[in-house]
Symmetry: C2
Subunit: 210 residues, 2 copies
């Protein structure tokens, strides 16, 4: 059950040359897993700590509080996801809308791979916002903003090629996509199948070449 087997002794441990056993990274990794599944409020520190075999004291060495930890997770997740968007949406070896389709397909695979238990951290925390530290709000908004900007650029390219109707505003379209897609993730997690993802994708793509 417990992740990487740490055999812990008291005191400062020998300097780790191998980077993978970095405690902080392990904590972030475990936090991402737990919180993409259960959100912020329902994720207990104990549970996360147990999963990596790290005591509370270590946690509070690396993070000031659970709130600070959450902020870091948003930051980390947002950036990782952003690179992922680049990987797909800037891939010049495919047409813009093809890149977009491949991206969606990768999301779909991700959901299936994790049995529809893990969703989107940003969506989860957004939903919970009513019970969350208020500093999260702007962070979450910013992340969405960035994802949308990247998506919008891809749409713009497609539009210039004539693959998207010119009376659609690409920025608005990207927003429409991300708003709806988060809804689709929510539903897919609830129903534990890909129906909602596919339904949304179909309709959205149909809308593009309208």
């Amino acid at each position: 059950m417990s992740g990487t087997s740490h055999v812990k002794r008291r005191g400062r441990p020998p300097k780790q040359v191998d980077s993978y056993s970095d405690t902080k990274t392990a904590l972030i990794r475990a936090g991402l897993v737990t919180m993409t599944e259960k959100g912020f409020s329902a994720s207990g520190l104990d549970e996360i700590l147990r999963s990596v075999g790290v005591p509370k004291g270590s946690f509070y060495h690396y993070f000031q509080s659970k709130e600070d930890f959450g902020s870091t997770l948003i930051e980390t997740y947002g950036k990782a996801f952003s690179s992922n968007l680049d990987k797909y949406l800037l891939d010049e070896s495919h047409l813009p809308l093809e890149r977009f389709s491949y991206l969606i397909e990768s999301f779909r695979k991700y959901m299936i791979e994790h049995d529809f238990q893990r969703g989107c951290l940003i969506g989860n925390l957004g939903q919970e916002m009513g019970a969350l530290p208020s500093v999260f709000r702007q962070q979450l908004i910013d992340v969405f903003e960035e994802w949308q900007k990247k998506t919008s650029l891809c749409f713009k390219e497609a539009q210039q090629r004539g693959d998207i109707s010119t009376n659609l505003d690409c920025a608005e379209l990207a927003r429409f996509f991300w708003v709806g897609w988060e809804g689709a993730i929510l539903r897919a997690k609830l129903e534990r199948n890909a129906t909602a993802l596919d339904n949304f994708t179909d309709h959205f793509l149909k809308f593009l070449n309208k």
Copy 2:
């Protein structure tokens, strides 16, 4: 802060002729408010009880557990919302798509009225499902199913009048709407404004008469 002012005395209270001061109803009402804002996990019983001035003993007289309480809330919310759908979508004094637009407008008003703090109970709990009693899952799915069915019927009427393209499947369309709409609520709560609601509405309506 505390809701309906109950001045409680010990012992069995006089039979209430006026229904509004029913303790159970008050608990449900308060539970709905709290949980549409903060979801299930982040809502403490104590907080809910304090807000209506009811002690634990009473709560556990009416409900077996927090889980049982949650089930009741889903049930209540689902039904109330369902009647609301009927109110709008079966109103023969307007054309089908007009009814639908009025419905959306009423949602929008609701969100504004509560400063974008209250969302949809079903959406909230759906998102949290990873940390919730598993009996909730089917309940939530069923509620969505019902809402979609009612919405689908309205679309069907519109389609028969020629207001919706015949190569759209109304059931799928209703699903598309509810999936996306929940996403829009999530985002509107996060951003504390109606942009996401309006963006989604615009695109969806544009999609209909495609």
